[in-house]
């Protein structure tokens, strides 16, 4: 990994996520610090990233590296943790039943991912689905239900949720810009995760057997051509 990516690009992207993850635009601009549970989820995500090889801490901090490089690595690891925490703070509904269910869902999902030990690519795809789904739930579905003015989507959802008390689902309404900002933040977060220094082991596990097969096939072709 280049020093520019490690010392400049990654901290800038991850810290931007840590900043924007708490922004809520209502009648004023609020910066919401993460709830305690977001810290737990952030730590679990860090564990998932390390176990899957999406983040290789030994490529960021190692005795063979210089002290300055190790401090840069520490900044990246810390920024990854804070960005993860704020990303969860962003996608989790603020109150009520959706808050509880979403936290529980994310907790179980991360534990499950940790237990399954998928590789880097699968983890990144899985995170994209998790964050995309949570974004749609919070900023489109719940926002439509909580919109005091109402709209077509709210009417459709009300028909679908007939018989359910909406008091347990509705959230404090946001300004529309919060949703756009959240989308932008999640995109930055996913880019930053993809840029993290990864463990080369998953590449070896994936491509070395293919390479060996390909070499063996080449050998067969040569043998046949030489009439052996």
């Amino acid at each position: 990994m280049s020093p520019t990516r490690e010392a400049v690009s990654l901290p800038a992207l991850l810290l931007t996520v840590a900043w924007l993850g708490g922004v809520r635009v209502t009648d004023r601009i609020g910066l919401v610090p993460p709830p305690l549970f977001a810290l737990v989820l952030g730590l679990l995500l860090l564990g998932v990233l390390i176990k899957s090889g999406a983040l290789a801490p030994d490529r960021l901090m190692h005795p063979s590296r210089s002290a300055l490089a190790n401090v840069n690595g520490l900044v990246v690891i810390a920024a990854t943790f804070f960005a993860s925490v704020q990303a969860f703070n962003l996608i989790t509904p603020d109150a009520g039943l959706p808050h509880l269910l979403c936290n529980l869902f994310l907790f179980v999902l991360l534990l499950n991912t940790l237990a399954a030990s998928p590789d880097r690519v699968r983890v990144l795809r899985s995170l994209l689905v998790i964050f995309g789904f949570a974004f749609v739930m919070k900023f489109i579905v719940l926002a439509a239900l909580s919109d005091p003015a109402g709209g077509t989507l709210k009417r459709v959802l009300l028909v679908m949720l007939e018989g359910l008390t909406l008091g347990t689902l509705t959230q404090s309404p946001f300004h529309a810009s919060t949703g756009y900002l959240a989308f932008f933040t999640i995109v930055i977060f996913m880019i930053a995760l993809a840029l993290l220094p990864s463990d080369g082991k998953f590449l070896m596990a994936k491509f070395v057997p293919r390479l060996e097969r390909s070499r063996a096939d080449d050998g067969d072709v040569i043998d046949r051509a030489e009439g052996r």
Binding site: T4, E6, V8, L31, L68, A69, N72
Partner: protein, 166 residues
């Protein structure tokens, strides 16, 4: 640029950025003026517009509270000056005070400003040397505003009409 230089500059930039973000979360500024004012106040380089402050004070003494608040807000756009916040709070107190009842909305706004004044003052102690005022410390003003917002049986005391505005 050498690797060492890139790493050192990146580290300084990342730490500065992280400090700035932490500052934003603590101070919760609402405008660019508050951000720039807050940053310059943190290095002791912030000054209010004295002309606008004097205008505000003149309006305040004439009981022209709306005008006073407009001038005081202009004097301290970043809301970083404890004295200006104190006068803003006092203007809400004087405008909201009544013989029969207090205007809770104005008192609540006043309380917000006096709390901010206390938070901005060194060690939380603010005393304004102004002979026109009967409450010269932020603590007195805060207590008065809180008492005005608190509803109890003493509110029904008919002798309240003989009270006076401070």
């Amino acid at each position: 640029m050498g690797e060492r230089t890139v790493r050192a500059l990146g580290l300084v930039a990342a730490l500065s950025y992280a400090t700035f973000i932490a500052w934003l979360y603590v101070r919760q500024p609402q405008s660019i003026a508050e951000v720039t004012g807050g940053l310059s106040a943190s290095i002791g380089a912030y000054h209010i517009d004295q002309q606008a402050f004097d205008d505000g004070l003149r309006f305040f003494r004439r009981d022209q509270f709306e005008e006073a608040r407009a001038a005081l807000a202009r004097a301290d756009p970043a809301q970083q000056d404890a004295r200006t916040e104190f006068y803003l709070a006092y203007s809400y107190y004087r405008q909201g005070w009544g013989r029969l009842y207090q205007d809770d909305r104005l008192f609540a706004r006043g309380l917000e400003h006096v709390k901010k004044a206390i938070a901005l003052a060194p060690s939380g102690r603010l005393v304004v040397d102004d002979p026109d005022l009967q409450m010269r410390s932020a603590d007195e003003l805060k207590a008065e505003l809180e008492a005005g917002l608190h509803a109890d049986v003493s509110d029904l005391n008919p002798l309240r009409v003989f009270g006076h505005r401070k």
